[in-house]
């Protein structure tokens, strides 16, 4: 039987996001030239929340984009059924401080695809990676710059990031032994 | 000297004499010697056990394409005659659209001699109406008949010129032969690949309207009336044609007609998936047309069943529907289809069937056979009307395999075929006889 344990409840998630928002501004030396890019799908919701927190604190209008990495997946030639392609909408990235936002960092393959895709949209000044959960298990030399929490997991585990916009509640849960 | 044959205990069905009884049949000297229960047993007689079977005059097909000369790779007179025998036919009539066209006495003589060499079913040549079948100048009917032609036809093509059709009907009267016409208005049918209807619309294929056939059927009937000649209407496929012929017969005109098993079995839906083995001319029509053909065969509006046996090479059918040739083979499936589709559902009695497949064809073309009267030709078929079998084209004696009926389960087949008082086919010994060719 799979067991489900809470990593972050609603309040903890709110606190974590607030800290991450602050950290983004610090690492990017302000909001000038800052672009938040969320990876479809939950990365988009998280980036949207971070943008609102930053705009509130800084009185800014941080640029925002969404990225679907499906067409850049490295397993597209081998995966049988075709994954559904989501929307990509990015502002100009040339010379910008781009922060890629995703929910869970695991193998690093999604981020590899996201970096390739961003390169097709221009040449950012720098790119930072911001994730809510780093669950370890990397298969590529990729690390996050801003991390909500780290969790040690095994390959059979699943990390569920739930957001009110899509799932009706805010929570991060670890599902073990599936 | 050939040994006599004694066919024992079969149900002898001979509509030419109104015979339908269980009795024995003795053939001797290539002819029917006698029918009856007490025929004795000549010592040297070959015995054919026919208990539970039907014994009938050999089947006769007025319409086959044997491809020799010209396309011996797809069929020869010999392979066609063997396929005919295996299908229960003791005689077939070969259409003249060979290469070269059978439009002269030498060409007719060639078919006759090839058929004699084969020694299976009889093969009667049909001469061309026009030289080269080009629809211009009449062929020499007198010479053709003298060499063995039993009818004339430009089959494969219609006789476009009404004038030529008229003169052919008039001239043919001199020799007492019918003029067989492939009824098709070429301007309406031009470029058509199948019946014009819902299926052709869906498949995006140019259709051949039913009217293309009916216009020519109507014209030929009018010319038969005008000339007093005998017109034989080939492979009738539409309800309208059946209606026209019915009215012509009511008027007592010299009009006869034939229909093919595929037209009383299939509809244009067989072309789905661009199945080139369902491409033929006239095309497979609608369910109402198929029903009209069945009723026409039942009430005698359509006199006989023919196959329009049209062999084609595998490669010729393995291509785009538009480019594939018309026609299917039919000699080895006709009897099974007729029994399965017409006799089993009660549309025709076995008597009717023998009438449509033997007695009437013999009368229409004035051929030997079609009767078991003492002294008549020893052409006989023993039919097992109940035998269930599956169509396996790879087992055909025909050289070609182009049939839409592959895999179909049929009831009824020829068990023994006897021509000129000699057994030319025995189902029980299938496989021990190498396919001809």
């Amino acid at each position: 039987m799979p067991t489900r344990t809470s990593l972050l409840d609603e309040r903890a998630l709110t606190r974590t996001l607030a800290r991450m928002a602050t950290e983004i501004v610090e690492r990017a030396h302000g909001t000038e030239g800052l672009v938040l890019v969320g990876i479809q799908r939950r990365g988009v919701e998280l980036a949207d929340r971070l943008k609102r927190l930053i705009d509130q604190a800084e009185g800014s209008q941080v640029a925002f984009g969404k990225l679907d990495i499906t067409l850049y997946r490295d397993d597209l030639q081998t995966v049988g059924p075709r994954p559904v392609v989501g929307e990509t909408r990015l502002p100009n990235l040339d010379g910008k401080n781009v922060v890629i936002v995703d929910d869970v960092l695991y193998t690093g393959r999604t981020i590899r695809a996201a970096l390739d895709e961003c390169a097709d949209f221009g040449r950012p000044r720098r790119i930072l990676l911001c994730v809510l959960i780093d669950r370890g298990g990397r298969e590529l030399p990729i690390q996050a710059d801003i991390v909500g929490i780290t969790a040690s997991t095994s390959p059979g585990d699943r990390v569920d990031v739930l957001v009110t916009e899509l799932d009706g509640r805010d929570a991060v849960e670890l599902v073990r032994g599936t | 000297m050939t040994r006599p044959i004694l066919v024992l205990g079969g149900r002898v069905v001979d509509p030419s004499r109104g015979t339908d009884e269980v009795t024995d049949l003795l053939l001797a000297g290539g002819k029917v010697e006698a029918l009856g229960r007490d025929l004795g047993r000549p010592d040297e007689a070959v015995l054919v056990e026919a208990a539970g079977k039907v014994v009938a005059p050999g089947l006769i097909d007025l319409h086959v394409h044997l491809r020799e000369p010209g396309q011996e790779d797809v069929e020869t007179v010999a392979s066609g005659a063997m396929a005919a025998a295996a299908g229960g036919f003791s005689a077939v009539c070969a259409m003249p659209n060979t290469d070269p066209v059978t439009d002269n006495q030498a060409a007719i003589g060639f078919i006759v001699s090839q058929a004699q060499r084969a020694g299976k079913a009889r093969v009667y040549p049909i001469g061309a109406i026009s030289l080269g079948q080009n629809g211009q100048q009449l062929a020499e009917f007198g010479e053709l008949v003298g060499a063995g032609a039993v009818a004339v036809s430009d089959d494969g093509r219609p006789v476009v010129s009404s004038h030529l059709m008229r003169t052919a009907l008039e001239y043919a009267r001199t020799f007492g032969i019918p003029v067989a016409d492939h009824c098709e208005d070429p301007t309406l049918a031009a470029g058509g690949a199948m019946h014009e209807g819902l299926v052709s619309t869906r498949l995006g294929l140019k259709g051949i309207p039913a009217a293309a056939e009916e216009i020519m059927v109507a014209r030929d009937i009018l010319l038969a009336e005008h000339t007093g000649g005998h017109v034989h209407l080939c492979h009738i496929s539409t309800r309208g044609s059946v209606e026209l012929i019915r009215r012509a017969k009511e008027k007592g005109l010299r009009v006869t007609a034939e229909a093919c098993p595929h037209h009383f079995t299939l509809t244009h839906e067989a072309c789905e998936g661009y199945n080139t083995n369902a491409k033929m001319n006239p095309p497979l029509r609608e369910p109402e047309d198929r029903e009209a053909i069945r009723q026409g065969l039942r009430d005698g509006t359509i006199d006989c069943i023919c196959t329009d046996h049209a062999p084609h090479h595998y490669d010729a059918k393995e291509r785009e529907f538009d480019d594939a040739p018309n026609g299917i083979i039919g000699l080895e499936t006709a009897l099974g289809l007729a029994i399965t589709e017409l006799v089993q559902p009660g549309l025709l009695s076995l008597n009717d069937l023998v009438n449509r497949m033997s007695v009437m064809p013999a009368r229409i073309f004035n051929l030997t056979g079609g009767t078991l009267a003492p002294g008549a030709a020893g052409d006989v078929v023993v039919i097992d009307p109940e035998a269930a079998w599956v169509v396996r084209p790879e087992e055909f004696y025909s050289k070609s395999r182009n049939t839409p009926f592959a895999g179909r389960e049929l009831r009824g087949r020829a068990e023994v075929t006897i021509v000129r008082g000699q057994v030319v086919f025995e189902h029980a010994r299938r496989g021990s006889v190498a396919p001809a060719g």
Binding site: Y72, R82, V85, D116, F121 | L198, L205, K206, D322
Partner: protein, 319 residues
């Protein structure tokens, strides 16, 4: 919910409403790829596609080629001279040769109805029909539907009149199947000599005159009139066709509402459509062309795999 297109796309008739919806929905994100500074995604990297065109077609071939290249596929164009058997190599030989070269997909345009299906049944590669005879032109039907959906935000209940030579049109057939399956109402309008005999059995309304179509429809899809139709006796003259069936601004001014104008191209200006209509405010003829690339990308993408993986909408498994 899952839907797969199967191996080939030979037409819209064999597809379910769900499958057609899937292609249209998949085309949406692909529209954006063509707007990027670098119009290329690596989705079909390493795939080899042959564009096998037995009939000349600049527009469809270029559209497919852009779609393939924007998905990073390697493409080869083969312009075969003719379809007829007299031209030498048969289609089945062509198919076997392609197979031997280990290609992944074939886009075929051919003058014979059924050619795409024929090819698809004989090779393992995916086959996409880019127009076969008078049968179907599925990607054209799909791009017309996408263009209609863009403007009306729906297809269900929409009234679309297809005008012109329905008899010889593969575009008409694909539109009829696709639109009716997604709940649109389809009318056909043209001279009776150019309407297929049983067309009403396909579930369409017959509109005898162009004025009827204009009164009835929300959108007109105006087909190209082939000049050969005069020679083969289907029509008296282009002039008369324009006078009786041409879509003119004068006729459109009598419409109860603004009609969206589609045309698969290439247009005969002044025959089936007048220039002021083709270039007018309600014409979506150029958006059709743009959507053509997106639709073809969607079809190529979907056929290169099996059925879509809807699981991506579940939870954050990945990283």
């Amino acid at each position: 919910m899952t839907a797969s297109l199967g191996k080939d796309l030979v037409g819209l008739e064999p597809l379910s409403a769900e499958q057609i919806q899937l292609i249209l929905d998949t085309a949406e994100p692909f529209k954006e790829v063509s707007e990027r500074p670098i119009k290329k995604v690596p989705a079909l990297r390493g795939k080899t596609i042959v564009n096998l065109f037995f009939e000349a077609s600049t527009r469809t071939r270029i559209s497919f080629e852009f779609a393939e290249k924007r998905l990073s596929a390697d493409t080869v164009n083969v312009a075969a001279a003719g379809s007829s058997v007299s031209k030498g190599e048969t289609l089945v030989d062509t198919a076997r040769n392609l197979e031997a070269m280990r290609i992944d997909m074939v886009v075929i345009r051919h003058g014979a109805s059924g050619a795409a299906q024929f090819l698809g049944q004989r090779i393992r590669s995916n086959v996409i029909n880019a127009g076969d005879g008078k049968h179907e032109h599925p990607t054209q039907g799909l791009l017309d539907m996408l263009t209609l959906r863009d403007r009306f935000k729906r297809l269900r209940g929409l009234k679309v009149a297809i005008c012109g030579d329905i008899l010889h049109s593969r575009v008409a057939r694909s539109n009829i199947w696709g639109l009716t399956k997604l709940g649109a109402e389809v009318g056909v309008c043209g001279p009776a000599s150019l309407l297929p005999r049983n067309v009403h059995q396909l579930g369409v309304t017959i509109l005898p005159r162009i004025e009827d179509a204009i009164q009835w429809a929300d959108a007109l899809n105006i087909l190209r009139l082939q000049l050969e139709r005069m020679q083969s006796g289907f029509l008296p003259s282009l002039r008369e066709y324009n006078r009786v069936f041409g879509v003119t601004s004068e006729r459109l001014s009598k419409a109860p509402k603004d009609l969206l104008i589609l045309h698969p191209g290439p247009m005969n200006r002044g025959v089936e459509i007048d220039s002021d209509v083709a270039d007018g405010p309600h014409s979506v003829i150029l958006p059709q062309v743009t959507n053509g690339v997106a639709i073809r990308m969607a079809v190529l993408y979907l056929l290169a795999g099996g059925s879509p993986d809807w699981a991506g909408q579940g939870g954050g498994v990945d990283g």
